[in-house]
Symmetry: C2
């Protein structure tokens, strides 16, 4: 059996380079003022010995771990197993991860992905308190999720992925949900649809509520259009889905059952829209000729739908990158006051509407 050789320490590098430990430390953290010749000698010693700094020792003194957590909180899912499955299946989280890691790389900071459901939450809190990470990117969509408040109470730097439900002095990044829904409504109207309906997300999730509000209130306001053409329905039919494919399918089925004349459908997520497409087509109705469908997210499933989905695009990667930047700023400047950054969504035209 070959036992693993212990990592070389800074002292060994110093000895090889013929300098003191402090000097080695200086060139590693490229502190100013190290004679070029010495610096070079140290570099050589480092590569010669294969030295790599010990993170534990370093962060013990710097009080920095150089990593941040991406906490994905879904308190509602009781079943841990299906919960993780969902997280790793929903393209949204992949985009967030991609955006965040990209922004973090220049800062030389690692991202630790921490999925959590209700049962885990205290574990997560403990994890954060132990100093594993310097800050938290918190993805929490559920309005009643206690985690944002708890994390804030910890005093650890944090950035949320959407407006916190209560008044919490914390930074967040969000998309203008109402504007996105209005974009969808306007497009459906402009292509001539008059029997509109929507499949909204869970109403205890702000995004679910706001997309519904945005859709309805735009239709309520567009009196110009409603005068120019047939009157719009006073009451826009809506059925609630759960942001899953199956949920979207069931919701669409119910909707078409109750309102067979529907010719325009706004679905609050692409995943649900994919299910809705099936339901619509199962009833023998063509998309977009008979029923036009607009999704939300512009996730990768939008392209896999048939027909490809017209959808409201959130710049998720950019948003995640912005979250990361905000977080780094808070970490580097403790006491910096919280701020929010709101992104405007855009409409991506494909074939479904």
């Amino acid at each position: 059996m070959i036992s693993r050789p212990r990592q070389p320490t800074m002292d060994q590098v110093a000895e090889v380079a013929g300098v003191s430990r402090a000097t080695v430390s200086r060139v590693i953290n490229n502190a100013a003022s190290v004679a070029p010749s010495i610096r070079e000698a140290v570099q050589r010693a480092i590569t010669a010995t294969g030295y790599v700094p010990n993170v534990a020792a370093r962060s013990l003194v710097t009080r920095r771990s150089n990593s941040v957590a991406l906490v994905i909180s879904e308190p509602d899912r009781p079943d841990d197993h299906s919960f993780l499955n969902r997280i790793f299946t929903d393209p949204y989280f992949g985009r967030v991860t991609a955006g965040a890691t990209g922004a973090l790389r220049p800062h030389d900071v690692h991202l630790v992905v921490v999925p959590t459901d209700a049962a885990d939450q205290h574990q997560v809190i403990r994890y954060l308190r132990q100093g594993h990470v310097d800050g938290v990117l918190l993805i929490s969509s559920n309005e009643h999720d206690p985690l944002p408040a708890q994390v804030h109470a910890l005093g650890i730097p944090a950035v949320l992925s959407s407006r916190p439900s209560g008044p919490l002095p914390v930074s967040y990044v969000d998309v203008d949900q109402r504007a996105g829904a209005a974009l969808a409504a306007a497009h459906l109207l402009s292509r001539g649809c008059r029997e509109l309906a929507t499949i909204n997300g869970p109403l205890d999730i702000p995004a679910g509520q706001e997309r519904l509000d945005g859709f309805r209130s735009y239709l309520g306001q567009s009196s110009a259009l409603s005068i120019a053409s047939n009157a719009l329905p006073r009451h826009v039919p809506a059925v609630t889905g759960d942001f899953t494919r199956a949920g979207g399918e069931a919701a669409a089925r119910a909707l078409l059952e109750a309102h067979p004349a529907i010719d325009g459908l706004f679905v609050a997520s692409d995943l649900m829209a994919e299910g809705a497409l099936r339901a619509v087509q199962d009833r023998g109705r063509r998309v977009p000729q008979d029923v036009a469908v607009v999704g939300f997210d512009d996730s990768s499933v939008a392209l896999e739908c048939r027909p490809p989905l017209t959808t409201v695009r959130q710049p998720v990667e950019e948003m995640a990158a912005e979250m990361a930047e905000l977080l780094m700023a808070h970490i580097d400047m403790p006491g910096r006051s919280p701020r929010s950054v709101i992104f405007q969504p855009t409409l991506v035209l494909r074939e479904s509407a």
Copy 2:
């Protein structure tokens, strides 16, 4: 601005409890022999002060981080962005994560998910050398991936998710791929299919190669069957897909174009099978009446297919849990000799075949 109060240290707890630091340490690590009364007093002091051990200090002395990395390596994907998207979209990785975290929890060990493509590999190596983690669960399917060998050279405890391509003395967990493919072949034959074909995975991935081999060689051997009925085709048509939905669809299209009489199809992954289903149905052929389709993985998409997919099930969660247990054993007993654990797949009957 409220500045965050520093975490209480062990000394403070000791002072509150009226004991020495060493004693506090003992109750925390519940070392043997601490007087019950003292232990209780310390516990009280801990909750009173809200003490949480500092992981950096601890792992500096124990040389343990109490976390392991789940490295997901896909050296082929040049585009980082789509790469992460794929990882977080493929249900397989979610299952792995679920299985591993579940097994790790009792050990009080955290899982750090580290996706990596070719460009990142040296970063990953550096990360591992820095001592962030005590060991590595390495998911690497590509035969030419240099990472397994590099990780092994590091001397850090590691467990692979499949047999390494070269002779590497390292533990791994795998499923009997050939047996799984044979299961599929046997089932298709038994339901009366005689014009069999397969959509195989990339041949530079062992799983891709072995599933193809297993399928073909079972058919070659089943002379009993081929005598009892019409002779089987000597050459079983096969087209290579890339383990994506779109790839499966394209492959199926090509297959049906070249061999319109196909009545039984083995697809080497559920994701590809979902695409294949579309292609088959687009040609106006019914599944399973005209063409029976068997997938591989029993991932969550198998249930979302229509019709729901008959598929070969890998017990992915259990396999990941086994990987985690093997890894913990290696971590706790350095020098333990490597071993492999092979799981037998099963056939899950649904409606597609």
